[in-house]
């Protein structure tokens, strides 16, 4: 490849810096709201706070209920449990299904692939009424495990599509060789195939985690117990009937977003490869 000239490099940097400024401006604004004593409500284009206070963060982090339970702690645990379990359950279901779709022939295979895509087209909010009935019958209402099952299945179609695409790019010869050497199907799957798709697995895990960590409407409808609320539902309480507590909302928003951002930064190298390897092959 030709080495770009100095002028071209400079242009590229200017373009990228501009893009970063536009991207980060809203985030700075939220940080300003979270740190300003007055909810940051003033007509100004300056995204940096004039006075800094950590009151909003304190109020969110050390929230207690009437019974003296440390609410934020419980809600953080609930969120971690739901997202962690969703990731594990979702990954197990997606990996096996995607492998079968990639490697085996069975009746209903193409119809199955089609219907996975189709499920993305029905508005999710409108499935709420029937979903509530089903969870009620299964005695999974107001339960974090019920939420885990719902999240794991709802993120499944996307995960399966992505993983199947990745499996398709892995040459079958490797597996055939292993089978020649006397390995069983399961061994081949676990020892040969899975280690090869670490990037795709990382990305799938990230998406499952993110779905569960960020979801709000289902959690707000299905959970009743304040100590089991996931963080997004807890955040909703700052948007009240008569007023919005912008400072606390902003502080809460930053706290909720931080873990996913860290995960993104940690996994971003895999992101590019994991997401597109399947798609590139078409």
């Amino acid at each position: 490849m030709r080495k770009p000239s100095a002028a071209a490099t400079a242009t590229i940097h200017v373009g990228l810096v501009l893009a970063c400024v536009v991207t980060l401006y809203p985030v700075l604004w939220v940080i300003k709201m979270a740190l300003s004593p007055t909810d940051g409500m003033a007509l100004s284009a300056n995204p940096f706070p004039d006075h800094v206070t950590f009151e909003h963060f304190k109020a969110v982090l050390f929230s207690h209920n009437g019974a003296g339970t440390w609410l934020f702690g419980r809600q953080l645990l609930a969120s971690l449990y739901v997202s962690g379990a969703t990731t594990i359950v979702g990954l197990l279901l997606a990996v096996t299904a995607a492998y079968a779709l990639s490697r085996f022939q069975f009746p209903g295979k193409s119809a199955g692939m089609q219907s996975l895509l189709i499920t993305q087209m029905f508005p999710a909010t409108l499935m709420l009424v029937p979903l509530y009935e089903i969870l009620q019958r299964l005695h999974l209402l107001d339960s974090l495990s019920g939420l885990v099952l719902v999240y794991a299945t709802s993120s499944l179609p996307f995960c399966v599509w992505m993983l199947k695409g990745y499996f398709d790019t892995i040459p079958r010869e490797l597996e055939e060789a292993a089978i020649m050497d006397g390995a069983s199907r399961t061994q081949v799957f676990i020892r040969v195939v899975l280690p090869l798709c670490r990037p795709a697995l990382a990305v799938t895990a990230l998406f499952s985690f993110m779905t569960a960590w960020n979801e709000f409407i289902l959690a707000a409808t299905l959970l009743n117990d304040e100590t089991k609320f996931t963080l997004p539902v807890a955040l909703q309480r700052f948007v009240g009937e008569y007023q919005v507590e912008w400072g606390k909302f902003a502080a809460g928003a930053l706290i909720v977003s931080a873990p996913v951002m860290l995960l993104f930064f940690a996994l971003q190298k895999h992101l590019v490869g994991g997401l597109t390897a399947g798609g590139v092959k078409g």
């Binding site: 490849m1 985030v27 279901l93 996913v260």
Partner: protein
């Protein structure tokens, strides 16, 4: 419970010790099950409720479990939880929804427990339905006039006097106003409507908008705005800051506003003035907050006791002194702590003039038409005298006639025939000369791999999906479902009750939605691709940093993004208007015109969506072999030619699945529309999903109609994906 617990044990000849222990455990667990009380209070009100409940537990020994439910989710949560036995024993709610709670059998009457003469009569009336009383009135909520003592020595008695004061106090150029209130909200306008002799319902209790009082009250308020006595599009945050800065001399608000006033402002509360032409006082709505006992309470007697306790005596006292609520109990006003409380006394006086808000279902139907008419007048799109007609038309469209009941038999037959045909057709297509076993050698392994995912999808995705479709053939009203066949679809597609060019019509919304999806995906792809091209050189310095910073929006939950951008587009405090002012441009009122409102939605969605396309494009670019470019360079092809002849054609197949998926996601991107523009102005920026949501959850639970909307959305997307699939297959055949 005792005998049930002990009999089997005794017959099993266990020691009596065990029997005792088991009975003990059973009885204590029954005693220890606490009462559940749900509320939506925050801050001081929540604190006062906790104190009142602690006093109840102290005096009765009955434990109570409090749950604070987010206000937005409260009503729907009660409606779903109570019939299923997951609800509270007692809940605190405004009386406004009482009639629908009663219809759905969520509340138990308090007759036989309640002493009606202990309360302010209008509060008891508000809790009466068909001769029964439900719940116990806790507090009164209505609007009054907050007056800055320094700026206004004596509060106005009549509107004529008021206008005179406002004229002197208002200097809009200095951002000073005589009065501030949320003029775009019908709750705040109702006082003017009734004060000008208007009414909202005819003698049969049906909504009626086209009245003289309506036109006059709207003209009056428009006059206040045109003369710049009140700020335009005022939000709660603006009003708070104006009053605290001494820039609004008077504010119309409720008891909750007292908590927002800074200690440095000296103020008092007065009743709203009389309307000079009619001689009637401005009569705001009276809301009664009540403790309702659930119809499915596990311990009904204890629940009645708790609800009553909160409404009278020390319960009322602590809510008034700490929670700053205006008690509904008469005896409370004999207590010195409450008698000498100026704020509470003032609101009690104001409540005497207020119009109790009807607890009928009809009342819940007037909000959307009135909001539309009020905003249209304030924005100068409709003359005050035509506003009533506008509201009437919207009202008729929202409250369509119940479709006739249909017989389900033909539909069932059609369903069975369709299923049989589908099975037959699949079997026909699957026929093959190769034996089944040979065709699918790994069948059992494959099924074992697929089964867990398939089972999960079947129960939690396929079943709700099919029920959702089935729901589209029913009409839902007052908790009852009736089978109406295709009537919902017919009504939607015939655009019944409104012209197809109106925002409420399916076709209008469809065009907006298609435009929305197209503009967004085009922006996502072009911005994503442009950034990917800038980032693709692996030798670029700081490449990792740029990439990390540019995917930040992806990591932010999208409802947070939406609320964040909603704040940035705020008329008075938004960063975007801040930037415009810094550049010397007039601030824009973003949500009053279709184009700016739509642009605000698009900006938000572009911000949150471009990183996904950027990452996909980066991956796709990396997969293009570099020797292709080298070869092209040898042949003397320029950069542009390389991009057109190599990059684009090779990117297409890689980007296409993401583009299809992105389109589907954007098409159903509910959060952004609902939270950023909220469909403003007048539902013009609503997309199909948000419209379906409104029919289901904001327009009297017309679930069937909403489900029909969803089915139509589904078919639109299905057609789109089938079409793009054909297109790509065609392209692949041509390209080989």
């Amino acid at each position: 419970m005792n005998s049930a617990g002990s009999t089997p044990l005794r017959s099993a000849r266990h020691d009596r010790w065990w029997v005792l222990l088991v009975t003990f455990l059973f009885t204590t667990s029954a005693l220890a099950a606490p009462l559940k009380l749900w509320h939506a209070y925050r801050g001081a009100e929540e604190e006062s409720l906790q104190k009142a409940v602690a006093a109840f537990t102290k005096s009765t020994g009955i434990e109570v479990e409090l749950l604070a439910v987010p206000y937005d989710a409260f009503g729907s949560k009660l409606e779903s939880a109570i019939p299923h036995g997951n609800g509270p024993d007692v809940f605190i709610f405004n009386h406004e929804r009482l009639r629908s709670f009663e219809q759905e059998k969520l509340v138990a009457p308090s007759d036989g427990f309640i002493e009606r003469p202990s309360y302010i009569p209008s509060a008891i009336d508000a809790l009466s339905v068909n001769g029964n009383t439900y719940g116990y009135p806790l507090s009164l909520k209505c609007l009054a006039l907050f007056v800055n003592d320094k700026l206004v020595p004596s509060p106005p008695k009549t509107t004529d006097e008021w206008i005179g004061q406002l004229q002197q106090l208002s200097h809009a150029d200095e951002n000073r106003f005589g009065l501030a209130y949320e003029s775009g909200d019908f709750y705040f306008h109702a006082g003017f409507l009734f004060g000008f002799g208007g009414q909202l319902f005819d003698e049969n209790g049906k909504a009626k908008f086209d009245t003289d009082g309506m036109a006059k009250s709207l003209a009056f308020v428009k006059g206040l705005q045109d003369r710049r006595y009140i700020p335009q599009e005022a939000s709660g945050a603006l009003i708070k800051s104006l009053f605290n800065d001494g820039k609004a001399a008077m504010v119309i608000s409720g008891p909750w506003f007292a908590g927002e006033i800074s200690p440095s402002v000296s103020y008092h509360v007065a009743s709203l003035p009389k309307v000079s032409p009619t001689g009637l006082p401005l009569r705001p709505f009276l809301g009664v907050e009540a403790a309702f006992v659930s119809a499915h309470a596990f311990q009904p007697e204890a629940a009645q006791k708790l609800a009553r306790f909160l409404s009278v005596g020390d319960g009322a006292l602590v809510r008034a002194t700490i929670g700053r609520q205006v008690p509904a109990e008469l005896a409370a006003y004999d207590r010195p702590e409450i008698k000498n409380d100026r704020l509470i006394a003032a609101f009690r006086d104001a409540a005497a003039n207020a119009t109790p808000m009807p607890n009928t279902v009809e009342m819940s139907r007037v909000w959307e038409p009135m909001k539309l008419a009020l905003r249209a007048v304030l924005q100068g799109e409709v003359a005050p005298e035509d506003a009533g007609a506008l509201a009437t038309r919207r009202y008729r469209a929202l409250n369509r006639d119940t479709p006739p009941t249909a017989s389900p038999v033909p539909y069932e037959l059609a369903g069975i025939l369709f299923a049989l045909g589908w099975i037959g057709w699949t079997a026909y297509r699957a026929r093959s000369p190769i034996p089944f076993k040979k065709r699918y050698p790994d069948l059992t392994t494959a099924l074992a791999y697929v089964a867990p995912a398939a089972a999960g999808l079947l129960v939690l995705v396929a079943v709700p999906f099919v029920s959702g479709i089935a729901l589209a053939f029913f009409h839902h009203e007052g908790g009852q479902y009736t089978f109406v066949g295709l009537a919902n679809f017919v009504d939607i597609l015939r655009s019944k009750g409104y012209r197809i060019t109106e925002p409420l019509s399916f076709y209008f919304t469809l065009v907006v939605t298609v435009l929305w999806a197209f503009v967004n995906v085009a922006l996502h792809v072009s911005i994503g691709l442009a950034l990917a091209l800038l980032l693709k050189n692996p030798l670029l310095k700081l490449r990792g940093l740029y990439r990390v910073l540019l995917i930040v929006p992806w990591a932010v939950p999208n409802y947070i993004t939406a609320l964040m951008w909603k704040g940035m587009f705020h008329r008075q405090f938004g960063a975007i208007n801040g930037l415009l002012v810094a550049l010397g441009i007039q601030p824009i009122s973003w949500f009053t015109h279709w184009s700016t409102s739509f642009a605000a939605n698009v900006a938000t969605n572009t911000w949150l969506g471009f990183p996904f396309m950027m990452v996909v494009a980066l991956g796709a670019l990396q997969s293009i072999p570099t020797d292709l470019y080298e070869a092209a360079e040898v042949d003397g092809a320029g950069r542009w030619a390389q991009f057109k002849k190599i990059t684009l054609p090779l990117l297409r197949p890689a980007l296409l699945p993401s583009v299809i998926l992105g389109t589907v996601w954007t098409f159903n991107m509910f959060n952004v529309i609902y939270l950023v523009s909220g469909g403003e102005p007048g539902g013009q920026t609503d997309i199909l999903v948000s419209e379906a949501f409104r029919w289901a959850f904001q327009r009297n639970e017309q679930y069937g109609y909403a489900a029909a909307y969803s089915v139509l959305i589904f078919f639109v997307l299905l057609t789109y994906s089938a079409f793009t699939k054909k297109l790509t297959q065609g392209a692949e055949e041509v390209l080989g």
